[in-house]
Amino acid sequence: LDPTPLSRALEVAPERAVAEKATPEQEFFCFRTGELQLGVPSENVREVVRAGPLTPLPRVPPFILGVAGHRGEVLPVLDLLRFLGKGEARVTSKTRLFIGTSGGYVTAVIADQILGLLRIPVSEIVPPPMGGDAASEHLLGVFRPGQKEAALSLVNFSKLLHAARQRAVSR
């Protein structure tokens, strides 16, 4: 008997499902502060809370807006706009804080709007522009979701938190 199209197809059919070639991805927590759209590796983000009243601290760097109490912890509140020299955050009733962690240090960071979690192929992350401003030293890279969409600056949160601490201590 001549083989049927089905029997020919079955002869070359795989034993099991074949996965597409794996593309390494990294997950980022994305948010907006001022005019900046930023992403922080999701492993550095513990949770997001509504910004309550902040307690100002005497003689801290301007990028520390004060401290906030959260579930029995006292957390410094970081304004990334001031830290990166991109303006000043305005705390309103819509402001959110994300609780960021790195190396045992915990801090709250001001966010105007939460954009959500985004899995980004590592191959599509381009290095920060050469000769960029001082802020680019704290970036892992830049991701452009689409031609018409604003670029997402991906923050090296561990390095940023370390630098913030160094700046605060050296005053």
């Binding site: 307690t55 601290l57 005497p58 801290v60 520390i64 401290v67 006292v74 240090y105 605060a168 005053r171």
Partner: protein, 120 residues
């Protein structure tokens, strides 16, 4: 002078401008009217009227720290106190916090603050 057990600390709560601060009550000898010529503790923010003063024994004897008002003394469990976070270094006289519910109240070492006042 506090007779609090080690698990409880007496915190004296005072106001400078719109802000509330706390201090170890044992550092305060008395509360008085502010005398003329005593310097402001500028690091705590601007005073409204500053007609009161905390009298503290500093290295050079008694000294005044002007405040707007004194709320009183609060006997506080140690479990409600928090050290200053490593990323929130500021004035060394701000030594920690008392958590009033979820609101951190900055705790001031008044003797250190006196030193800072002298350095202003």
């Amino acid at each position: 002078v506090s007779d609090a057990s080690p698990e409880l600390v007496d915190i004296l709560l005072f106001e400078v401008g719109d802000r509330v601060y706390g201090a170890d009550a044992t550092q305060v000898l008395r509360i008085s009217r502010r005398s003329q010529g005593s310097a402001d503790l500028r690091m705590l923010g601007p005073l409204k009227e500053g007609t009161r003063a905390l009298v503290v024994k500093g290295p050079d004897g008694e000294a005044e720290l002007p405040v707007d008002s004194v709320r009183g003394i609060r006997r506080t469990p140690v479990g409600e106190l928090r050290r200053r976070p490593a990323t929130a270094h500021g004035d060394p006289s701000a030594v920690g916090f008392w958590l009033d519910g979820d609101t951190p109240v900055v705790l001031i070492d008044l003797v250190r603050a006196l030193g800072a006042q002298g350095g202003q």
